[in-house]
């Protein structure tokens, strides 16, 4: 399956979901659905969050898994938190 595009390739603005389809019966639901903040993160950030949750939120375990030091993982987590906060602020502003 293709990766979910997050930004418009023409103007760079955030995309919204227009249609959702059932893979079983083919029913399609149309509307304007916002992409959740987590899904709006870059693929690398999403993988990081996924691995972090799987590691029970242990930075020490993440550091060992990735072969980097504890503060490097901590710094990576802080970057992801900042990015999530930025996305949430943008979404709040877009929703008025």
């Amino acid at each position: 399956m293709k990766l979910l595009p997050i930004e418009c390739p023409s103007c760079g603005r955030k995309l919204v979901v227009r249609q959702l389809s059932c893979q079983g019966c083919g029913t399609a639901v149309e509307g304007l659905y916002e992409i959740p903040s987590l899904a709006s993160l870059s693929r690398s950030d999403q993988q990081f969050v996924l691995q972090f949750v799987k590691a029970s939120g242990s930075l020490k375990q993440m550091a060992s898994l990735l072969g980097v030091s504890y503060p490097t993982v901590r710094s990576r987590l802080d970057q992801t938190i900042e990015e999530l906060e930025r996305l949430e602020t943008e979404q709040e502003a877009a929703n008025g």
Partner: protein
């Protein structure tokens, strides 16, 4: 950008030697860096005692004054602790994220490992003859020494490598601060320079008060 430190979250391949030399704290911190760092500080002090080379300040290195071995060992530890404590306090004030003190103290100790190289260089006969020559010419200290052209070249090279090692050490100190306290940009550079200056003064005062007076 193959030589850049990795930032992706994929498990890292074996770091290259250039990463270990210039961005070691991406890979090592905490207790490991503390053990390596303290060992390096003590080794540099021990080697320094063989050529009467003192690391008598966070960024200082002076050859000539004889002293008991413990003075050479303690100087390195004082330098490390002064900078680590000052940077710890500064980053507690300005950093927006939490961090572990042992990462900062450990990596700051390890950042001093280039002093082992400079201490080794001071054991070279050409360096010893060069400092003795300068001591006599400038301060009339010691005895008159004849300096050959080969000695001059080797002494010049040693001084250049020593300066490069100190610059490298400062770069590692900054990398330690930036990585462990998650500080970047102008704020990180400004607070690091301020911390370095404060720690330099503090270490000079501490060494004079505790070890010389």
């Amino acid at each position: 950008m193959a030589d850049q430190p990795p930032h992706s979250i994929e498990p890292q391949r074996r770091p290259k030697i250039v990463h270990w030399l210039f961005t070691p704290f991406v890979y090592v911190a905490g207790g490991t860096s503390l053990a390596i760092g303290v060992a390096a500080i003590l080794l540099a002090g021990l080697l320094g005692s063989l050529s009467n080379t003192h690391f008598d300040g966070v960024l200082d290195m002076h050859t000539g004054r004889p002293a008991p071995t413990r003075v050479f060992l303690l100087e390195g530890l004082i330098n490390w602790l002064c900078l680590a404590v000052v940077l710890f306090l500064l980053s507690r004030l300005v950093s927006r994220t939490s961090f572990r003190a042992r990462d900062l103290f450990g990596t700051q100790a390890m950042a001093r490992w280039p002093t082992v190289i400079t201490a080794l260089l001071t054991l070279l006969p050409a360096y010893q003859r060069g400092t003795a020559y300068l001591g006599w010419q400038l301060l009339r200290v010691g005895s008159q020494v004849q300096l050959h052209s080969a000695d001059m070249v080797l002494f010049g090279l040693t001084v250049m490598v020593t300066v490069a090692a100190i610059v490298w050490m400062v770069a590692l100190m900054y990398q330690s601060y930036s990585t462990c306290c998650n500080m970047k940009g102008a704020k990180a550079i400004a607070t690091f320079v301020l911390g370095l200056l404060l720690a330099e003064v503090l270490s000079k005062v501490a060494i004079v008060k505790l070890l010389i007076m």
